[in-house]
Subunit: 154 residues, 4 copies
């Protein structure tokens, strides 16, 4: 199970990259977990579905109906920003696309929990992540790390 | 998505009932969510798998590897008993089999959140639940309530 | 640190009992922790203040300003009903006054965590609690259990 | 209520700065909230006590006995790293001293929740924080922001 993080609102290029991350993960048999809402979260779920994958979304509130339509399994945390912790706890690895402070919190939490964190692009100010130029490389890295650790697959 | 609650250790009759609850839910197209560990949680996941269903388990710790083998989607809450709240928040209805205080906490939380709570058997001291003699009746009731509310299906 | 649980809306007699629980706890040097809102939560904080005690309130949302004016230390859980788990985790013992399902969830969680649970009055359907007729007896019992376990004092 | 964040293990200079942050906050009437364990968390609580302040610690596990001896009010989250979210939710402002990824997660969460984040020193890679050279300046900034927002005082 691999977390995909990034902005709830995103530019067209970031959306394209997020969709490709979802496709590449699903094509490798990984479950995709995200915050289940818009922007990067929507794009990665759509991409995963295009490749026949399964998607999990952990939403901040107490109602799963806010999840985007490409979330297969919606979990209602009722924990506001605390849902970021659940996403990172549940993931075997994290792939981060361009985002704001919520995304940085997920990257920091992933690193604090000693999980592999792959970042697509050159935007991340936090040291300790592994940078990739393409979704394909980031997905391959994250899935390889997960398989080594014996993680969940779809 | 329907939560199945009950003892982490259970007698043979309760295990049989839990397995049948899982089968009846999966046969009606419901996703089964539970605490993902042993006893009733294991039996309901096995039953759901026998009927081709999909199962979600929210485990108390930070490691998904403790989930029973019939959990398809494991979420690591890292929240100890707090994971009970996530199960109830995410479920459209709750079916409870014989259990101890953890099960009573899930029943109470479900009622506090005004969700349908169906109990199999005559063991529950908390008023306000709907009692059923058989798993089939409880599953039919829970699924009907979920469909009326527009809940998640597998 | 002793949790006081009970209805967010309460009748005059329950409010009187809750206030007396707060006074009796504070007079014995205990910290009072509650959900920080109205009804029993307000009354126990007022009672604690009358006896010079200190009060902690864990509110459900992300804003501490909803806490009642007699909460000295407000914690914003942002966890909705999940805040009940934090109250019980933090308490050395629980005193419950008449309440609804939220109160039953706190009683169940307390028993699941093997903490002493003292109930004032004859209203509680859950077995395993210790029943008391008066706030004074319940407070004495809870404080004695806490002292034996080495718990926090104001 | 002002959160003090920083490494659970810290060098002598960071400990000295953290202690001074605690003293400066308490001298201005602020409640100090932290993760309640070692390093910066211990030093800021000690400093607050030297100036007569009150300290709150939210510990990761389910047992408050791990809190450092200068924590007055210990809250057991039972939420592992998720306790960082509770600290930030409850704080009116955040002061961060040198730390690792857990500290970066608290800074990110604070910024995501649009709370003032003051950093002592020149070590923080995350943009959007306000940098200060001395604990006195950081404390004054954080308390001023809190007073403007109507926050909690000891």
């Amino acid at each position: 199970m691999i977390a995909v993080c990034g902005g709830g609102e995103a530019d067209a290029e970031t959306m394209r990259l997020a969709s490709e991350v979802g496709r590449e993960l699903a094509a490798r048999g990984a479950l995709v977990i995200s915050g289940g809402l818009g922007g990067v979260m929507t794009a990665c779920c759509q991409g995963a579905h295009e490749a026949g994958g399964l998607t999990v979304g952990i939403v901040p509130g107490t109602n799963t109906s806010v999840a985007n339509p490409d979330v297969d399994i919606a979990i209602a945390s009722g924990m506001a920003e605390g849902r970021n912790v659940l996403i990172v706890h549940s993931a075997d690895a994290i792939i981060a696309l361009k985002g704001a402070y919520g995304t940085l919190s997920e990257i920091s939490l992933g690193l604090a929990m000693r999980k592999p964190v792959a970042v697509v692009g050159d935007w991340c100010p936090i040291p300790g992540v592994v940078l990739f130029e393409t979704p394909r490389e980031a997905a391959a890295h994250a899935v390889a790390a997960t398989v080594r650790a014996g993680g969940q697959r779809a």
